[in-house]
């Protein structure tokens, strides 16, 4: 477990028309990688639930950060959805107590910022998996911090 201590940022786009294709997936290499994939994929349910709740619910929080999507025994799964319907999901080992809501929020902001840069890169074709080295290094640095 200690191997994956810290953030497990998964990044995936979900334009409705683009069927939640993962744009970017990154995790601290570990044997439970598959489990992450399942977890994150399932978390999309909650993301969509929360996003669709916007406007309907009386107290609709219009923030891009969706907060804790749901806890599992081993992970905490956080969500963030840009206005362009790009979904970011971060999975954190629940034993990791150093990351509070605010840290997570700022991690998401970082992700969003550099994703924006990716979008504005002429060599990036929207909807394709992200290959940008800059983005990569940003994510890795973030993951290092969280450990």
């Amino acid at each position: 477990m200690m191997t994956m201590l810290g953030g497990e940022p998964f990044l995936l786009v979900s334009k409705q028309e683009q069927q939640n294709y993962p744009l970017y997936i990154r995790s601290v290499p570990s044997d439970s990688e598959l489990k992450f994939h399942y977890t994150v994929h399932t978390s999309l349910d909650v993301v969509e639930e929360k996003v669709s709740a916007v406007g309907k619910v009386i107290v609709d929080q219009r923030e891009l950060y969706l907060g804790l999507l749901y806890p599992t025994e081993d992970y905490k799964v956080y969500g963030y959805v840009t206005n362009s319907k790009v979904k970011f999901v971060i999975v954190v080992d629940s034993s990791n107590t150093s990351l509070r809501d605010n840290e997570i929020r700022s991690m998401f902001r970082k992700l969003h910022n550099s994703f924006t840069d990716v979008m504005c890169n002429p060599f990036y074709n929207p909807g394709d998996p992200i290959q940008s080295k800059v983005f990569d290094s940003m994510v890795s640095s973030m993951m290092v911090q969280t450990c």
Binding site: K15, Q16, E17, V51, V54, G55, D60, R62, E63, L64, V81, T82, N83, S84, K85, H112, N113, F115, T116, M119, C120, P122, P126
Partner: protein, 158 residues
């Protein structure tokens, strides 16, 4: 947004280039408009990504359209859309009484036949922006007296 003048010059050159290349038979003239529009589309996608980075989540379609008319338009064209109308069935008409990209062309009917080329890119810009906000649409434009022009946005109901 780039400096206004620069943007306009670049835009003009863009059109020149596209139509030149069509004269050299690289594609038939009809496709130029489409090509320009597609360029706009990609740019719109990128721009909207930036512009909406720090805004709150949009309530609904109308909310989005308002954003386009106000913030988006201001950032790109240094002014707001003058008039937004809708039939509440997914059709919006954005009227700009002094559209930046036409204001240099003429004030009136002169060069009217050339006006469409100068609108295509913007049509794409809007479509791209909307698309990236998850609003699938078709954007067309009309000019009767420059530099005023109308953009019509038809939104696909999903």
């Amino acid at each position: 947004m780039a400096d206004e003048a620069l943007f306009q010059f670049l835009h003009n050159e863009l059109i020149q280039y596209v139509y030149k290349s069509s004269e050299q038979g690289e594609m038939e003239n009809a496709r130029c408009i489409t090509k320009l529009e597609n360029m706009g589309f990609r740019v719109g996608q990128g721009l909207i990504e930036r512009f909406t980075k720090d805004t709150a989540r949009f309530k609904d379609e109308l909310d989005v359209m308002k954003f386009i008319c106000k913030d988006f338009w201001t950032s790109v064209f240094k002014k707001q859309i003058d008039n937004l109308r809708t039939n509440h069935q997914g059709i919006y008409v954005l009227q700009d009484n002094k559209f930046r990209l036409l204001s240099q062309l003429s004030a009136g009917k002169q060069y009217l036949e050339h006006a469409p080329k100068y609108l295509a890119f913007t049509c794409g810009l809007v479509r791209g922006g909307l698309a990236n906000l998850g609003v699938k649409s078709i954007v067309t434009a009309e000019v009767s007296v420059m530099p005023a022009c109308k953009f019509q946005v038809m939104i696909q109901k999903v």
